[in-house]
C-alpha cells in the first residue's frame, strides 16, 4: 500500500521494550496552590525521582507557563529525557499545550502521558489520601510512558477529485462548491435531466422565487464549469476503496424517455435541464477522494382509494396540481380551469403519506409507514392555495390539516396572507380523517370532515377538485446503500453520523450527505447541507492528503497466527482483513490493517488469542503497566518514613 504511510519512526512492534532506553521526565504542577494545597507536591516529586526509568522529576508553580514549558523543552533538548509525564490539570485543558512543547523541542509528541491530579485529585480529595492518589496516578503515567513508542499521524494521499451522486439542487450546489475549491468533480444523475424535485415546482414558498430560473442557473453553471464533468443517465455500478481513494465505476443507465426535441442544455418544463448523457458502452472507472450523496427523494404515491385517489379523476397530488396550475390561464370570470373544467372550489388535504401512525394508517406496498413529517408540504400547499386565490379569486380553497407547520422564515406570514385571502382552514384529527365521496350533485365530489375548529362538527365541502399534499419518501437507492455500505435510519432516509456533531457526514469516512436523501428539506436547506458537505469534502481534498490520528490498530507479524478473530470483531468493515503472505516459503494468512479505515476502538485487541494486535498509543500492555503501578507500593517504600511525617493538612505545607 504505497499511498499509506504509517510511519512509526521507532519502527518497534507494539510489544516488548522500545529500542531506546526510556528516560522519563516527570513534571508536577502546583497550580498556584490548587494542587499543592492538597497534594504534597514535593514529596511526590521525590518519590518519582526514584522510580525506575525516571531520570528527572521537577515541579513548577505553573507548569503550563512559559518557564514551565521551557524546563521540559530543555530536558528534551539536552537528551536528559525522551518521554514526558506532566501531572497537572485535566488533559483536555493542556494536553495539546505540552504535546506542542515537546514537538518544538524536537521530541515525539506522542511519547507523552498526562496525569490528571487537579480535577481528579486535589479538587476532590484532601490530605494524605490526595498525595497518595497523586503518587499512584503519576506512577501509572510513568509506567505507561516507559512503553510509549514514537508515533506520527497517518497520512493518506487524497485524490483531488470528488464524485457527487445526484443532479438536483443539492447535488448541483455541492458540485459547484467543490469545483470552486479547485476540486475536479464528477456529477452523476440517473435521469436525463438536471434539476431534481425542484424542476417540477413553480414559484417557491414563501418568497416566490422561480424554481425554473434556479434550476436553469445552477445547471448552466454546472455545464459550463471546466472542473465539473456531468454524467446524466448514468449509474454507479461499482465502488471500493477508502477516504482519499475511492474507486468508482460509472455505467450508462438503461435509457429512460427523454425529450427528443430538446437540445442538451435546454430547460424542459417540469423535468429540468437536459444534461449530457453517459456514453453507451464500457463503464468508466476513476478514483475519487470523496463522495457526496445527493440522491434526493421520491414523492409519495397515494394508494388507490386513499382520499378518493385513483377512483376519481378529480383527485390529484400536489406536485401534479402545481404543474397544472403553472399552465392555467387566467379567465375573465376569475375562475381556475384545469383543461376546460372549471374549478369552483378545491380542497387540499395535508399529510398524505406523512405523519402516518401505526395502528391508524395502513402500510403501503413498500410495507412501511412514513412516520416522519415531510416538512415542506404545509408551505407548498398554502403557497398553492394563495396562488389560486390571488390569480383565480372566483375559486374557493379549503385546506384540511392536522397541524399547520409554516415554520420557515416568511412562511407564517404567508399563512396569514392565505387566511386574509379567505382560504378556509379546517383541522382534522388523525383518528377521524376526511372522507372524499363522489356525489350526484352540483359538485362531483364532497369532502366530509369532522372539523376540530368548529367544535368537532361534521362539515361537508362541495368541491370540483381534491389535491393531496403528498410527502417525501426516500428515493429507491438500495443498490447505492449496499455498495457504499451506508447506514439508513428507521425512516429509511440515509442516517448521518450525528445530527449535530457531524450532520453531513457518514460513518464511512469521506462520504458526505447533501439534501433530501437525508431527510425532507426545502431547496435552501438542501443547499446549506450541500455547501456544508462540500466544505468538509473540500477541506479534506484540497491539501492533497488526509491526516489521521496514529491511534490505530497495529499487527505484530511475529505473533499473528492468522486466526481471523480480529477480523470478525472489527467494527468497521474493511479496516482489517486476512491477507496471504509468504513466510519461509509457506503461504499463510496474516491480519492486515488498513489504517485509513481503522477507528482505533481496539475491539480487535481484545479478541486476539496471541496478543498480536494492539492500538498504537493505547496498548493493553500499557494499561496493564498502569494498573500495576497504581497497585504498586514501590513509590512509597523509599520515602515511607518521610511520608509519615507529611502534614495531615498539607495546605499549609505547600504554600
Amino acid at each position: 500500500m504505497s499511498d499509506l504511510k504509517q510511519t512509526a519512526s521507532g519502527g518497534q512492534p507494539a510489544s516488548g521494550c522500545p529500542a531506546d532506553e526510556a528516560r522519563i521526565g516527570v513534571y508536577i504542577c502546583h497550580c498556584g496552590g490548587n494542587i499543592s494545597d492538597h497534594v504534597d507536591v514535593e514529596a511526590v516529586r521525590e518519590r518519582m525521582e526514584k522510580m525506575p526509568g525516571v531520570t528527572v522529576s521537577r515541579t513548577n508553580m505553573f507548569m503550563c507557563s512559559d518557564p514551565g514549558q521551557e524546563s521540559i523543552m530543555e530536558d528534551l533538548k539536552s537528551g536528559l529525557v525522551n518521554r514526558v509525564v506532566v501531572a497537572s490539570c485535566a488533559p483536555s485543558l493542556h494536553e495539546t499545550t505540552f504535546r506542542a512543547a515537546i514537538a518544538r523541542a524536537g521530541g515525539n509528541p506522542y511519547q507523552y502521558e498526562h496525569a490528571n491530579i487537579r480535577e481528579q485529585v486535589s479538587w476532590v480529595h484532601h490530605g494524605a489520601p490526595a498525595t497518595d492518589k497523586a503518587t499512584r496516578l503519576i506512577s501509572a503515567a510513568a509506567g505507561k510512558a516507559r512503553l510509549l513508542t514514537p508515533l506520527t499521524p497517518i497520512r493518506v494521499e487524497a485524490q483531488r477529485r470528488a464524485l457527487v451522486i445526484g443532479g438536483g439542487v443539492a447535488g448541483m450546489r455541492a458540485a459547484l462548491d467543490l469545483a470552486a475549491q479547485g476540486v475536479r468533480t464528477d456529477l452523476i444523475e440517473l435521469s436525463p435531466y438536471l434539476g431534481g424535485g425542484l424542476a417540477r415546482l413553480d414559484k417557491l414558498a414563501p418568497h416566490g422565487e422561480d424554481a425554473a430560473g434556479i434550476v436553469r442557473e445552477l445547471a448552466g453553471n454546472i455545464l459550463s464549469d471546466p472542473l465539473i464533468t456531468t454524467h446524466c443517465q448514468a449509474r454507479l455500478t461499482a465502488f471500493g476503496g477508502y477516504v482519499g481513494k475511492f474507486s468508482v465505476e460509472i455505467s450508462p443507465a438503461s435509457r429512460t424517455a427523454r425529450a427528443q426535441e430538446a437540445a442538451p442544455g435546454a430547460f424542459v418544463p417540469g423535468k429540468g435541464v437536459l444534461g449530457p448523457a453517459q456514453a453507451p458502452g464500457a463503464p468508466e472507472r476513476f478514483d475519487a477522494g470523496a463522495v457526496v450523496m445527493a440522491t434526493g427523494f421520491s414523492s409519495y404515491a397515494p394508494q388507490k382509494g386513499e382520499y378518493g385517489f385513483g377512483d376519481n379523476a378529480e383527485a390529484v397530488t400536489l406536485p401534479r396540481f402545481i404543474e397544472e396550475l403553472k399552465n392555467a390561464q387566467t379567465a375573465p370570470d376569475g375562475m381556475l380551469r384545469l383543461g376546460s373544467r372549471p374549478v369552483r372550489s378545491l380542497a387540499i388535504i395535508h399529510c398524505v403519506g406523512s405523519r402516518q401512525i401505526p395502528g391508524v394508517h395502513e402500510e403501503g406496498p413498500s410495507g412501511h409507514l412514513n412516520e416522519h413529517c415531510s416538512r415542506t408540504c404545509c408551505a407548498a400547499s398554502i403557497n398553492a392555495a394563495l396562488t389560486v386565490r390571488k390569480t383565480f379569486p372566483a375559486t374557493r380553497v379549503y385546506e384540511l390539516y392536522r397541524d399547520i407547520r409554516t415554520y420557515g422564515r416568511g412562511q407564517e406570514e404567508m399563512y396569514a396572507e392565505a387566511s386574509a385571502e379567505k382560504v378556509t382552514f379546517l383541522r382534522f384529527d388523525v383518528e377521524s380523517p376526511p372522507e372524499v365521496v363522489r356525489v350526484n350533485g352540483q359538485y362531483p365530489l364532497e369532502v366530509r370532515v369532522r372539523d376540530e375548529l368548529t367544535f368537532g362538527e361534521n362539515l361537508e365541502l362541495p368541491v370540483d377538485l381534491v389535491v393531496l399534499a403528498t410527502g417525501m419518501e426516500p428515493a429507491p437507492i438500495r443498490d447505492l446503500i449496499d455498495m457504499l455500505k451506508l447506514p439508513v435510519g428507521a425512516d429509511r432516509f440515509l442516517l448521518e453520523t450525528h445530527p449535530k456533531l457531524r450532520p453531513v457526514e457518514l460513518p464511512v469516512a469521506g462520504v458526505y450527505l447533501a439534501g433530501t436523501c437525508q431527510a425532507p428539506m426545502d431547496a435552501g436547506e438542501a443547499a446549506n447541507a450541500a455547501s456544508s458537505a462540500a466544505a468538509k469534502a473540500g477541506a479534506l481534498l484540497r491539501r492533497g492528503f488526509v491526516e489521521l490520528d496514529p491511534f490505530v490498530a497495529e499487527v505484530d507479524p511475529a505473533r499473528c497466527k492468522g486466526t481471523g478473530a480480529c477480523v470478525d470483531a472489527c467494527l468497521n468493515e474493511g479496516a482489517l482483513r486476512l491477507q496471504e503472505t509468504e513466510i519461509g516459503g509457506e503461504k499463510v494468512m496474516r491480519a492486515v490493517v488498513t489504517p485509513a479505515l481503522c477507528l482505533g476502538c481496539g475491539a480487535c485487541a481484545a479478541v486476539c488469542p496471541e496478543g498480536a494486535i494492539n492500538v498504537s498509543g493505547w496498548t493493553l500492555e500499557q494499561y496493564e503497566a498502569m494498573v500495576d503501578m497504581i497497585l504498586s507500593e514501590a513509590a512509597f517504600a523509599v520515602t515511607a518514613d518521610e511520608s509519615v511525617s507529611a502534614s495531615p493538612e498539607p495546605a499549609e505545607a505547600a504554600v
Partner: protein, 100 residues
C-alpha cells in the same frame, strides 16, 4: 352535517372592515371574554369563516351580550379583531331587521 359556504365572508364585508378571515382559531378571545364560559366570540367568527349563517342566525342573540369591551381584540395574536367581527355581524342583522 352542514355545508360550508366561504362566500359568506364576502357578503359580510359589506358590513365592516373585518369579517374574521384572519382568525386562526387559537381560542384566546373565547378564553378572555368577560362573558365567561362557552366558545363566544370565536364561535361566531368560526361560523362566519365557514359561512354557517344559519347557525349565527339561530344564536344571534348571543351577539348582543357582547360588551364591546375590546379585550379580545387587544389580545388577539393574529390581529383578527374579534370585537369588530361581532360588531359587523350585529350590523348585518340590524340591517336585516331594519329592512323587514
Amino acid at each position: 352535517m352542514s355545508a360550508v359556504n366561504p362566500a359568506f365572508l364576502d357578503e359580510l364585508e359589506a358590513y365592516g372592515e373585518n369579517a374574521g378571515a384572519l382568525c386562526f382559531n387559537c381560542g384566546t378571545c373565547a378564553a378572555v371574554c368577560p362573558l365567561d364560559g362557552g366558545h363566544f366570540p370565536r364561535k361566531m367568527i368560526r361560523y362566519a369563516q365557514i359561512g354557517a349563517v344559519d347557525r349565527i342566525r339561530e344564536e344571534s342573540r348571543e351577539l348582543w351580550r357582547c360588551l364591546h369591551c375590546g379585550l379580545c381584540t387587544q389580545t388577539c395574536p393574529r390581529g383578527a379583531n374579534p370585537g369588530e367581527v361581532i360588531l359587523t355581524l350585529k350590523r348585518l342583522f340590524a340591517a336585516e331587521w331594519r329592512k323587514s
